[in-house]
Symmetry: C2
Subunit: 329 residues, 2 copies
Amino acid sequence: MNIAVIGLGLIGGSLLRALAAAGHRVLGYDADPAVRGTARTAAAQAPAAQRWQITASVGEAARGSTLVVLAVPLPGVPGVLDDLVDAGYTGLITDVTSVKGPVRDLVAERFRRAATPLAGYVGGHPMAGREQSGFEAADPYLFTQCAWVLCLETETALTDWLDLAALITSLGARVVPTTAGEHDQAVARISHVPHLLAAALAASIDGNPLAGTLAAGSFRDGTRVAATRPELTAAMCGGNAEAVTTALDEIMTSLESAGTLLSRKDPGRSLVDWLRTGHEVRAAWPALAGDSTELPAKADVLGRLGRVGGWIIDVAEDRRTVTAVRPAV
Amino acid sequence: MNIAVIGLGLIGGSLLRALAAAGHRVLGYDADPAVRGTARTAAAQAPAAQRWQITASVGEAARGSTLVVLAVPLPGVPGVLDDLVDAGYTGLITDVTSVKGPVRDLVAERFRRAATPLAGYVGGHPMAGREQSGFEAADPYLFTQCAWVLCLETETALTDWLDLAALITSLGARVVPTTAGEHDQAVARISHVPHLLAAALAASIDGNPLAGTLAAGSFRDGTRVAATRPELTAAMCGGNAEAVTTALDEIMTSLESAGTLLSRKDPGRSLVDWLRTGHEVRAAWPALAGDSTELPAKADVLGRLGRVGGWIIDVAEDRRTVTAVRPAV
């Protein structure tokens, strides 16, 4: 395939490397000239058959490509979409942004104004991250075994979805079919709210150096993601504000119950019951993979697979079936 | 010194090994005969000069000892104290329990009834833990560089405190002078509330297998301590209910602010400010150690040292000075 990757940070850079290593013709672009220079130098050092090219603009990367991957942060998405509209791009678009509803809405809005119709958009989100960021940290094996969300909405063309799923499973990732709404609710709980809890917990020992000296493993792990730059966390939570607010409210209600149980005379007993749900969920996580099965490549089947925590590891060449894995029970 | 260690789990067992390796005469006891058997077998395999003895009762261990270390969980403390009273023990007592106010009160209450006066009690808490528990996981090096709280209350005999501090620093630990009240407030924030947040977070994806499949690092770390047995967490939080309630209320108020900021039209901006405190605290944690200095071994000096996050690494033989380290600024 001819693929353009726009944005060459950790995810975009890793994808550029992974796709080029898999034999695709890959064009990369980053708004930062220094990053483009680094990526160009790195290409020259790659084996000849696995080299990518770096272009001077979004339009140049998109021209001749049948797939454009938006790998810029959410605030950068509208500008790149405008560039694609201006370049008359009509191919498939996907993205790797951590919220899916807002990107879906942006794509719809920008391309509604375009003279030429867009071939298709499928929202994506690889659940891959690292402490480091930037092209220097890029790794073609970053996506091995990682869960990669691909949104399958009622308006999504199934063929587009399956083409992308085939491409992404070929990189070793587990493609999880879901919707933008389900995705955004889930990541609020597994990623965004954890960042807020970590920040509140870390702030609770502000001006208390004794507590800092005594702090060990519980504090270290419970606050780790508070080390993320506040601007990034705020953008991430702000971009998913509705789902984050819902999830945060639920957790606050639950913590209020814990507080009530604690203030009783015999707090040990019922607090145990309150703790048990979280304990059981955590003890069963991550779920073990069950046996793989062939499934018909139909939207309703795929949607159900995602909702039970399943994923796809292969798409048949004829696009009629997928190889799916469900969590073992 | 002649030392009795009561309770031979991870902490008690590690202490037994560390003290014996340092050349002390150590007697150990555990209520579980199987644990006593294991500890007795392990003693036979230690070098002759570093062997501990296992006794058949608390009283037998205490007899001839000048220090008794209570290394049993909080619910086991009253029974051991009763045994010590019955045995007519009049030496020094310390403990390693994770809450300090309740143990202090229990010691005062039990020995008030005793015919013979108690020589002294100094509350202690080594901030050392492991995923594993039990005597099998015991490690004489567990306390190397670990913060070890020793409570210095207005009623504490400074000589007792310094003797214990000398013993504990000789095991490679950092002795942190504080009070039961300050300790309990601090551990509520760095240990107990993190367990409640982890449980609430894990429970928030109950019945949501999609979220479980997408969950990665933020969820893994934010929920790690939810894997602790609910009974242990409930006992820990319940034993420190007042301080945990205070800390939890503070964090809930803070999270409410975050929720308010999120629901505004332009959430990114002020949420950044809200996130900044936690970010700065976490980025500066753990504090680097500053240069070591000699300090007079006086209660007020030691109390101030603990409150600024400092610790003691040595006690002079004449007990007139200590070698202290403060966090580097």
